[in-house]
Each structure stands twice: as structure tokens, then as C-alpha cells.
Symmetry: C2
């Protein structure tokens, strides 16, 4: 039996159509201090102008521009200092012609003031200052709303919240935000899989893929409930799928997707009468993946091999989440020259681990040896991934390619 | 009063010399499922060979190479199938000349086997197979230790753990790892600062910097204890600094570092008789920062302005942590052409927010308007930062610069 490999675009389009995720169930209100590293589930708009009023950006004297427009060192303008406004004082001062008011950086500007003379730019004498040089209108003034305007979109839905986003949200006084926290159930299939910490015996394999998938989902903000390890037992898999679908909107399994006597996950999944099910996608590594929608919920049966499961998550799950929830993933890319030719089939997608190095002011992209999807060491050798999409007729040595970086490129500095 | 601006290299070198962080107090053992997003505090080595034994990478028949070396389609070699080894079976089979054993992908190789004939490459008939074409020695075989060798360093100390690292660690059966979790105390100084969620009043400012710093430290793996907001009261600051130093190895404050009548944090810090204290660093934005070592512990008095505090954390704290703890930060960089000249002083360091765009196959780096360190919107406008280090004599339009990406560059695809 050979499985048909489906185009990724077709699979994603169709799954999106059938998914009926209850959005209320997958968002959570959190305090902004706990929001970092999560994906924002709402648009955040400025609730106030920043600055909230015209203010000084200098230590000096607020003046009326016209008073000092024509001053010259030979005949300095003399202004009477009628007060002092500190950064958190609102005295409602109103400046009149011939007057100045002492201000600090951040002080609200007195009414009628239209420039600030830096304190180094004048000489104070008793109640008066002498201004020796003119400044342009609005010099030293930060206008109300110049930085942020009330109602302006400041952080958009789907953004991965980093400290600077949180700082910006805090500047608006906003204490809580909605973030995505979809609930997922996950379990691992296979007689051969043993949990970490257990004693190894020949013929067994530690649950590498399980932990990779678990932590991958966590990174994306999922709250994952691990349902356990389960042997090659179709009835038991059906039961666990049912239980998982009752608990969560997203169900992930690892193992049991290849076509073989003991690969039962897909068979079990079919018995749940999914609205749609694909078994086999045009992705290397990761071909035998199954993906289905059951009662509007997503079920992804990932490969038991870590490198293949990772490719399936990167190339199928991420675009799905981006389409359905608007999540924006940080995928820093560089353009580099391919170190050797890659022969690829135009009907397939390839996720290829690469080593990006800096040679002079250029990046060189060297694909790691394409080996079995079980090769663990490629998970950490290399520092980037290259996605070659279906439709491509291969990439030649020396071609420019765009690579997503997973860790730093060695060799700092430029030039 | 003018503060002297110290070279960053001098500051970091000297602080490192005086720091006496108790390493035991800042690491924590966590289950690998909880280790993602944290910085690894130990070297992880392979505890076993992967594969743990020679195994088949094909569904087919394990054979002795010499038996099939000379086979030809016209006169196929006939081998007797003496057994079947499944992926998790260890029957201790020993192959003899003239024999074959059925294997699946992942099956341990029987003793003496030196090649695997893919099942498509032979014809089975009763207890026999006919092999029509020879394969090279070790064809279809993955050798013990070929992927990972026992004792090999697989994830190094200081690595930011991503799902693939966790997967690799899991493959070794390792259930727990040491990660960094330094404890930090933090408080914010300033009569004008109000917490988020409180009612705004003119002259006040929401605690934007507080939350930026809090979440920045969280991202780096710190467990942060927030000690509260405190007014411009030197005695109270001294007390809170003392309390914080009793609780944590790292103390961070925001606000109260500029030279002004009410800027008291640095004065309070001096009263604790630090082993070393710098006030003023050659960094724009971020000049008025103070940094000290008190009883071997780090105290950083950050700016009250978010953009300046962020620069201080990026350019001073990160290199310190990298020197002292070996933390390796993910700083994805691209080389791009500078869109306009930047005039800089050779004695200063600059952290400049930039917008990186893709033009053809090149990146163009446009510095955002350099404005006051209080300008919040620059926190999220732009998608990268450019660090110009002391010693640089300015960068011209068209020069190549290396920029750290903070979010994606718009415009996908290559070519």
C-alpha cells in the first residue's frame, strides 16, 4: 500500500475550512507581567495620548516664542521668571508676554508657552533671565500625542509579546491583556517508546519525539495535557482519541502513522468519522503525517521520528495557526548563497537543516546531509532551516536562498 | 554637575572582577518538559550511542554482504529466510552464510549481517528469497553510534533550550536538567510613577519601564521579586536596597539615576559602600545608568525611561551574563546597507532602532529618528537594532552594517 501525498496548500486550505475552534475557550486574560512570551489575542490601542500634554524635553525655561525670536547676543532679551513647574506639577500656569517659567525635563508646559530655552542658553539674574540666542518655535517641546495618539493601534493581535511590547502596553496603564492559550491533549503511540528516566533496554527508544512536540506546543502558548504513552493497540488509541477530543480543541499524537502492520493511529482516527482526514502530505521529512478535523477540532497524528515531527509542526501547524488565530511567528531570515545543489522533486516540500556561515559580507548556506528522519544529531547541528516549497524545480549551487535562523551565525561584526 | 561616561568595556571588565555570584543559588533542576525557553546551566553529553546498536533503515532482508556481492539478475542468489526481527525484538539471531532474516525499518541487525536488501529488491518464495542485484556493504544499515556517540557533547552550557534541544536530551533518557534561574529583586523609584490599572492624573506616568524590565528579566530566566514602587525618598531607597540585597544576588531599580535634585537612587546606592560603582556609561540612550557590586552582588540602577533602560539591559546586562554564566543569547543578525548616514561620537556606544526592509535580494537598514529616550513608539516601530560600538567614527549611507532582528522583515521569498 502506498499513501497518496497531498499538497500542503490543499491540506491547509481544507482543514481551515472545517475547523470550528471555539475562540473563547482558547484565550486567557493575564496580567501584563505574565504576558511575555505569549501570543496576543486582541488588538491593543493607545488609551491616551503620549505625551498626555505638551511637555518640556529640556531643563530650562518655557517662553513665548515671539519674545525671543529676535534676540541677539549683543542685545539679549530679558524675561521675568514668574514660577517653576516640576515634572509632576500641574499649577495651571499661564505665560504672558515678557515672562518665563522654569521647567525640567518632563514638566508640563505652561499655557501659551511655545518654546523652551535650555538652561545653558541663558543667564539667570535674580527674578530674570537673559536669553542670548533665539531657538526655533516649539524647540524643546514634545507635543501632546506626538509619540502615541489615543486610539492608535499599538500592538496587534497575534503578536508574540516581547518585553518592549509589554512596556508599551504598560505605558497606557493597561493591567491585563488577552493571550492565546489553546488547550491541547497529546499522547504517544508505540510499543517501543519508553519515557525518559526509565531503564533502557534494547529494541526500545526514549520518547524523544514526545518531549520535542510537548515543548514545541508549549513555546507556541499551548497548555498541553499529556495523556500518556500507549502501546500498539487500536482499541486503546480510539479510546484515548475520544477522551482527548472531549477535553481539548487540539489533539496531537506521535507515532503510528507509517504504513505498516503495527501503525494503528491513522486507522483508529478513521473510526472517529472525521469530517475530513488527510493521510500523507508532500513533505520531506514528514510524509506519513495524518491530519483531520473531528467535530470541528484538530487532530494531528505526527511522525514518531523527531526530525519528521518537527517538520510537520513547522510546515503544517504553524501556517494553520497563523490562518486561524492570526499568530505571527518570529522567523528571522537571512539571504545566503547555497553551498551545493539540492535536487528536489517539484511535487514535494522539503524542510532542510542547514549551516549558515558568514564569509566576508555574505552568508553561505550549507545543507546538512539529508538523512533519515530519525537522525537526531541534525536537530542541533546547523543553525537554520531552508524550506523548499512544492513547485520548485531544485536549487543550484550559488543560488540565493532565504533561510530561517534557529541559532546564531558564528563570526560577529560586519566587514 | 556632569557625570563622567565610562567605557562599556571598562565597566563590564571591572564588574565581572568584583562579582561573586553563588552559582548554586542560581541554578535549578527542572523536568525536561519544563526546560524549554530556559538557559541550560550544565553541559549535556550523550549517555548512550545512537543508534544503540546497528540497525536496519529499510524494510527488507538482512544478509551477509559476501553472499550477494556477485549476484546478477540472470543468476540471482537464493537465500534461506531463517527468521524475522521486529523493531523492538532482540532475538540474538546470528546469520550464517546462505541465510537472510526479515527486518523492518529500525530493527536491530542480526549478528554477522552486513547489508540490508530492500524488500522491493528481491522476490520471496516460500522460505527463500532471490536477490537480483547486489548492494554495497553496509547498505541499509545505520551503524551503532553513527548519529550520536556516547560521551559526545550534545547541548552545551548556556544554550537557550528550544524544543529540538529538549528532544535531543530526551533521546538520551535524561529526565531532568539544570537551568539558570537567578533570583532578582526589583523596585521602581519616582514620585511620578503609578502602577498600571490605577487612575491616571496629570504629571504622573504609568510604570512602563517597570514592566519592560520585569519581563525582560523573566525572558532571561530570572525569577523576579518585585519589591514595589517607591517615592523620591533617599532613606526609603537605602532600606529597600538593603532588603533586596539580603534576598537576591541581583538587584535592579528603575528611575532616579539622572543628575537632578530628586534623583536619589545613586546617592542611596553609594551609602551601601559598594566594592565598585560606576555612574554614567558611554551609551546612548542610557547614559545615566549606575552599576555596582555590593557584597559580591550586582546592583543595576536603570533609567526610568523605557528605551534607555532597554538599551542598558541589552548592552550591559547581557554581556555580563554571558561572561559570568556563559549564557548564549539568540541574536539573529542580517547584514544590510545603511539607508542614511549616522554621525556618532567615537567615545560613545549607540543602540539605534532600525527598520530593515528587503529590496531585491538585499536588506536596507533605515535608522528610526533618534529622539529622546522617553519615546515609547520606537519600542515597536522598526524591527531591528543596530549597535554602534565605541571606537567607531560614524557610519555612512550605503555602508554595510550588521543588525539584530527583533521581528520579521516584511516581504517573504527570495529573488
Amino acid at each position: 500500500m502506498v499513501i497518496k501525498l497531498h499538497s500542503l496548500n490543499e491540506v491547509i486550505d481544507c482543514i481551515v475550512k472545517y475547523l470550528k475552534i471555539n475562540l473563547k475557550g482558547i484565550v486567557k486574560k493575564v496580567g501584563i507581567a505574565d504576558a511575555v512570551g505569549k501570543y496576543l489575542a486582541e488588538d491593543i490601542r493607545a488609551s491616551m495620548d503620549i505625551p498626555p500634554y505638551d511637555r518640556s524635553v529640556l531643563d530650562g525655561y518655557a517662553v513665548i516664542y515671539e519674545d525671543i525670536a529676535l534676540t541677539r547676543p549683543e542685545s539679549p532679551v530679558k524675561l521675568r521668571v514668574v514660577g517653576n513647574v516640576d515634572v509632576d506639577e500641574f499649577k495651571g500656569y499661564e505665560l504672558r508676554r515678557g515672562e518665563a517659567i522654569k521647567v525640567s525635563t518632563g514638566s508640563p508646559l505652561p499655557r501659551n508657552a511655545s518654546a523652551v530655552i535650555p538652561k545653558e542658553g541663558c543667564v539667570a539674574q535674580g527674578d530674570y533671565i537673559y536669553v542670548y540666542n533665539p531657538v526655533p518655535p516649539n524647540y524643546g517641546v514634545s507635543k501632546k500625542g506626538e509619540d502615541l495618539r489615543r486610539g492608535e493601534l499599538i500592538v496587534s493581535k497575534g503578536t508574540l509579546l516581547r518585553p518592549w511590547h509589554v512596556g508599551l502596553i504598560a505605558s497606557q496603564g493597561i493591567p491585563e491583556v488577552l493571550v492565546y492559550e489553546p488547550k491541547a491533549c497529546m499522547f504517544s503511540v508505540g510499543d517501543e517508546v519508553i519515557d525518559v528516566g526509565k531503564v533502557f533496554s534494547p529494541g526500545k527508544v526514549y520518547a524523544s519525539t514526545t518531549y520535542l512536540v510537548l515543548t514545541y506546543l508549549k513555546e507556541l502558548g499551548f497548555r498541553v495535557r499529556f495523556m500518556g504513552f500507549i502501546g500498539d493497540d487500536e482499541e486503546a488509541i480510539v479510546k484515548l482519541l475520544r477522551k482527548s477530543l472531549n477535553l481539548c480543541d487540539f489533539v496531537f499524537t506521535t507515532g503510528g502513522t507509517s504504513v505498516g502492520e503495527r501503525d494503528l493511529t491513522v486507522r483508529a482516527l478513521r473510526r472517529l468519522s472525521p469530517e475530513v482526514l488527510y493521510h500523507g502530505v508532500a513533505l520531506i521529512p514528514g510524509k506519513p503525517m495524518a491530519i483531520a478535523v473531528v467535530n470541528g477540532k484538530l487532530v494531528m497524528c505526527l511522525s514518531g521520528f523527531p526530525v519528521a515531527a518537527l517538520a510537520e509542526l513547522e510546515v503544517v501547524l504553524k501556517p494553520l495557526l497563523s490562518r486561524v488565530l492570526g499568530m505571527k511567528f518570529f522567523e528571522p531570515r537571512v539571504i545566503g548563497r547555497l553551498g551545493r545543489r539540492l535536487s528536489t522533486s517539484p511535487n514535494m516540500n522539503y524542510l532542510i537543516r542547514v549551516k549558515v556561515s558568514k564569509v566576508g559580507n555574505e552568508y553561505v548556506v550549507t545543507p546538512l546531509k539529508i538523512t533519515g528522519s530519525g537522525v537526531l544529531s541534525t536537530l542541533v547541528k546547523g543553525n537554520g532551516v531552508l524550506l523548499i516549497r512544492e513547485g520548485s524545480t531544485g536549487v543550484d549551487e550559488g543560488d540565493l536562498v532565504e533561510v530561517t535562523l534557529l541559532s546564531n551565525v558564528e563570526g560577529g561584526g560586519c566587514g
